[in-house]
């Protein structure tokens, strides 16, 4: 029953992803790897679309993954699965814990959770980057070969510089860089086709 499975997978994601939308990425990546519903590359495309459309990124990603797995019902079920735990948790906090933010144990837990959230996203990024910047050729007769995709590395460095250090471009919305990279991809045939 794919709908039940989808709901359960996203329920877990909503319950344990701490730190906003991108914190769901490591959960989604693990989900793709263990279920075979989508690849790391497909997930990257979903991140791009989610960043370029209105709505919270985490909700957009859940809807997209759900749609990819099981059509429109999948999109609805994945999204509901994602938000169910947070609705329950917030309703409890709103009703019972007036000073949740000042709670000693909550603060102590978050002292550990914040670096963990960054670390999990970093690890998910490393998995993704290994498919984007490095190509594995398993078909070669002399054994598998690793090649670095220099076109991708150059584009990556350019985007990094533009988003972090160039004064005129670093404040621009991500959609500008996503569209620019799409054009570069088309002009220089990044997929090799």
């Amino acid at each position: 029953m794919i709908y039940l499975r989808l709901f359960w997978e996203f329920f877990q994601t909503g319950l344990f992803a701490v730190g906003g939308g991108m914190a769901t990425l490591p959960f989604l990546q693990k989900m793709g790897a263990s279920t075979g519903w989508f690849t790391a590359g497909q997930l990257a495309d979903m991140v791009a679309v989610s960043e370029s459309t209105p709505g919270p990124i985490g909700v957009n990603m859940a809807t997209y993954v759900g749609f990819t797995c099981a059509g429109i019902p999948g999109a609805v079920i994945a999204t509901l699965g994602l938000i169910t735990p947070s609705v329950i948790i917030i309703l409890i906090i709103a009703a019972l814990l007036k000073n949740f933010r000042d709670n000693r144990y909550v603060n102590a837990a978050f002292y550990g959770l914040r670096p963990a959230s960054s670390a999990l996203i970093m690890a998910a990024l490393l998995v993704l980057a290994s498919t984007v910047f490095i190509h594995v050729d398993l078909a070669r007769s002399a054994g598998p070969a690793l090649t670095i995709d220099f076109k991708a590395v150059i584009l990556g460095v350019v985007v990094l510089v533009l988003t972090r250090w160039v004064k005129w471009t670093k404040g621009l919305h991500p959609i500008v860089f996503i569209l620019g990279s799409a054009v570069v991809g088309i002009v220089f045939r990044f997929a090799g086709v």
Partner: protein
């Protein structure tokens, strides 16, 4: 207008206007919820937002639940939350269908191959932004490194690491309190 419908529609409007999520949402929330509707004061809103950041789940959803709950209890919280996710459901479903039916075209494949590179950089920037607030001393550096390495080398679910990190935080802070 009925309050539940109002909550749903206002949050849907905020959802549509949030472009890029997270911090981009705060000024829009302020205008719609504090200034136009008077559903919360500025201080309450920043409290909701801060708690939304340090509870599991999507920050926008958590904040919407708070706002709805204050107006109309549990049902209000649910109405506001459904409003917040409604635009995403419509927009993403339409786009996803469109992209799927064009994905065999070579120029679409080339475009997404370029976009994947950009996505790597954008995720990297998010990690740096989060890490700046999260990594504050040697112990947090250690937690960060242990989880990056363990997560890359093992097949363990992120759930395990999240639980591990929460326990680490409580134990470390407990020991520090004892020392002091």
């Amino acid at each position: 207008m009925h309050i539940l419908l109002d909550l749903f529609l206002t949050c849907a409007k905020i959802g549509v206007m949030t472009f890029g999520g997270g911090m981009a949402m705060l000024p829009i929330l302020q205008r719609e919820v504090v200034e136009k509707k008077g559903w919360a004061t500025e201080d309450e809103l920043s409290d909701y937002y801060a708690i939304g950041q340090c509870t599991p789940g999507i920050i926008a959803v958590n904040t919407a639940t708070f706002i709805g709950q204050k107006q109309k209890g549990v049902i209000g919280g649910i109405a506001a939350t459904l409003g917040m996710v409604f635009p995403s459901l419509i927009i993403i479903t339409l786009l996803a269908g469109l992209i799927t039916s064009f994905s065999h075209l070579t120029w679409i494949q080339n475009a997404f191959a370029g976009i994947r590179v950009c996505v790597c950089v954008l995720i990297f920037n998010t990690v740096l932004k989060l890490a700046k607030k999260a990594i504050v001393d040697r112990k947090t550096v250690a937690i960060f490194l242990i989880i990056v390495i363990a997560s890359c080398l093992t097949d363990l679910s992120p759930v395990v690491f999240v639980l591990f990190a929460a326990v680490c935080g409580i134990v470390i802070k407990g020991l520090e309190a004892k020392k002091a």
